[in-house]
Amino acid sequence: MLGKLLKYEMKAGARMIPISYLATAAVFLVGLIARSLKIHQVTTATTILLFFAGIPCIIITLIYVIMRFHKGMFGNEGYLTQTLPVGKGQLLLSKLISSYIWMVASAAVFVAAWAGAMVVSNNLNIMPDIIDFVFGNSFAPLVIFIVVSSAVQLFAFLGELYFAISLANTRQFLKNNVVFSVVFFFVTNFAVSLLELAAMLLIPLGIKFTETGVVWTTKTMLGDLIFNMEAFTGNQPLLSGISIGVGSCFADLAAGIGLLLAAVWLLNHKTSVK
């Protein structure tokens, strides 16, 4: 059943989201043509447009993700969705997976649009030099860290979103469910951010960017920060390299799972379709 649910979720997204991708591709194409015809004003304009083209893609996807969950579970469409012979967990999972896929696709378009801007402005060949100058040999591990960290953050974000909307559709808040969805989202987001920060500082596992490359460390990030602050005030040598606690990734993962389970419980026991 999950596969069938996913099929219809993806189809629903495909009716709306790829339009922004096509628009981005069209701008890129215009930029390429303008470059080959040496129409400099158009080339400059499309380069600037491509730098910002990813933002509407992500905003449109975000709006879709929110509306799809809200309308699909608690709006008129909820009368169909919630009477299908599938568990609420599967319903939520299908929405989570499809939202995740669309969000990742939009982020990829965002990155591709930047690359497209570099191509149109004929600056792609200088990118390796810039990367090498700024990141040195830490570039690949840094990208991996950012990708992994963003992946779990997106998971936690969707958990926050689904939990907030579900909670806002319980009896006490049903009358103003849209307002309460926003309030609950920001409160949940703030709480998860605090948890992330605490886990990043206190869990004794991290990666350290040094001159020779990236290494794992089993010291807490807070410990390193305190050591450096004391060393700085005592005029002692500082620790070499910058360490980042990876505990925040575990915190995001745990928060995402917890919030999704809470949302399923609310859907099963406390929510009503208006």
């Binding site: 059943m1 069938k4 099929k7 219809y8 629903a12 009716r15 008129n76 469409e77 909820g78 009368y79 169909l80 919630q82 009477t83 299908l84 012979p85 599938v86 568990g87 319980t170 009896r171 006490q172 049903l174 009358k175 859907l267 099963n268 026991h269 406390k270 929510t271 009503s272 379709v273």
Partner: protein, 232 residues
């Protein structure tokens, strides 16, 4: 007779106050049950609880021995008052979707009914009139071989000429072992099809008996009795 639906002490409140105040009733298999009552009396809320759309209620609701959930949804075919299909969906796609999700859905039957009511599989919901949309939803619901059909106001918004068509769809497409629960304000138009009648007023159960027994006991038609009970 076996009890297909069993409700015990069902309570449900909204912010504005209680809507269902301890309703208890049994519905047996193979019956057409009229559920009547004035606006806001709790009919739709009771249907939504049975269909699994409301989770926070007090009391016991058992459908073929199971509380509202995956198992009950496999045997309930629910027609809400609202249009629940996406306005961009085509009739044919909606049929495919129901065929995907419900094992008991008869695609051929749905396509035949579609043809009979002059609806094309390629028609989008947004290009249909309200009456056509309601017919499509009813076709989807009645193309299932469900044990319990719950039809919430299937005749509202339908012009008098088309009401007989809607009743035809219902009467010709449910199996005799299944039960139809149908709520309506238009009692006069449909009372002839009811085997049993459930009358709800102000969240409480006023009547739950066979339609013939009520007519015999009161000497009135269901419509006349309804008007007498709920006279302002």
């Amino acid at each position: 007779m076996s009890s297909l639906l069993e409700i015990r002490n069902l309570f449900k409140s909204y912010d504005r106050g209680p809507v269902l105040k301890g309703i208890s009733l049994n519905v047996e298999s193979g019956r057409i049950v009229g559920v009547v009552g004035p606006n806001g009396c709790g009919k739709t809320t009771m249907f939504k609880i049975i269909a699994g759309l409301i989770g926070d209620y007090q009391g016991t609701v058992l459908i073929d021995g199971n509380p509202p959930g995956v198992k009950s949804k496999e045997i309930i075919s629910f027609l809400p008052e609202k249009t629940y299909l996406d306005e961009g969906i085509k009739a044919g796609t909606a049929i495919s979707m129901f065929a995907d999700f419900y094992k008991d859905f008869d695609r051929q039957k749905a396509l035949e009914m579609l043809k009979r009511f002059n609806l094309e599989p390629g028609m989008k919901l947004k290009s249909m009139s309200k009456g056509m949309q309601e017919k499509l939803q009813l076709i989807l619901v009645m193309s299932r071989a469900a044990k319990l059909y719950i039809l919430d106001e299937p005749l509202s918004g339908i012009d008098p000429a088309a009401r007989d068509n809607i009743l035809d769809i219902i009467l010709n497409n449910y199996s005799e072992n299944s039960t139809v629960m149908l709520s309506t304000h238009l009692i006069h138009d449909v009372e002839r099809i009811f085997d049993d009648i459930i009358m709800i007023g102000n969240g409480t159960l006023l009547v739950a008996e066979s339609a013939d027994a009520l007519r015999e006991r009161t000497g009135k038609s269901l419509d006349q009795y309804f008007r007498e009970v709920f006279r302002c």
